[in-house]
Amino acid sequence: MATKKFMYVNRKAPYGTVYALEALEVVLIAAAFEQDISLAFIDDGVYQITKEQSTDGIGMKNFSATYKALGDYDINKIYVEKESLDDRGLTADDLMPLVWEDEDDDWAEKPSIKIVSREEMAAVLAAQDVHYSF
């Protein structure tokens, strides 16, 4: 089976709707098929990977920790749009440090997140074979 470039586009804040959690589950399942997977966080999607989420007050499962497992699933192309952060008063420092371990480099931890401009994001999206929108 030829490898295709799959892009999962995340544009919704977590918890208010089920999109974020559904996307995460689909991504983890897709990882089993060893395709070339990328994730994009655009618009309110950037809230999915903010640091220090606490769901104690809303009685829902805090699934933010699961994004940190993506590196284990060889998902290490995570694009975050800078304009989306700027519009929301956020910076890269407000995001969880998502990393992956490079087995060929003595398990060195490398960052998975790339902050890109809107223009670069458009190019990244255009370079994919399949898009899934959440």
Binding site: A13, Y15, D43, T55, G57, S64, G89
Partner: protein, 102 residues
Amino acid sequence: MAMLHIVNKSPFERVAFKSCLDHALAGDSILMIEDAAVGATDGTIFSEELKAAMADKSVYVLGGDLAARGVSEDRMIDGIKVVDYAGFVNLTVENDTTQSWV
């Protein structure tokens, strides 16, 4: 007749929050819940609009929804009050009517 306006949509995603601000009257209260909670953050493309509304309206946010989205209270616009579920209930009791901008 004071009214409580409840907003649950992100101001960055839908026009519901803006529409709420355009329709709320002086003396009314606005409560941000669910995805609308992110609107409480200062330094955003929406914060000046909300600050302008706060000149004559009270603005509240449900603390649990804010924390769930990783926004700490020290990032909020000054003057927004954080409430819990009991505070939510009090707001509905204190106001004559409630409208949800779903």
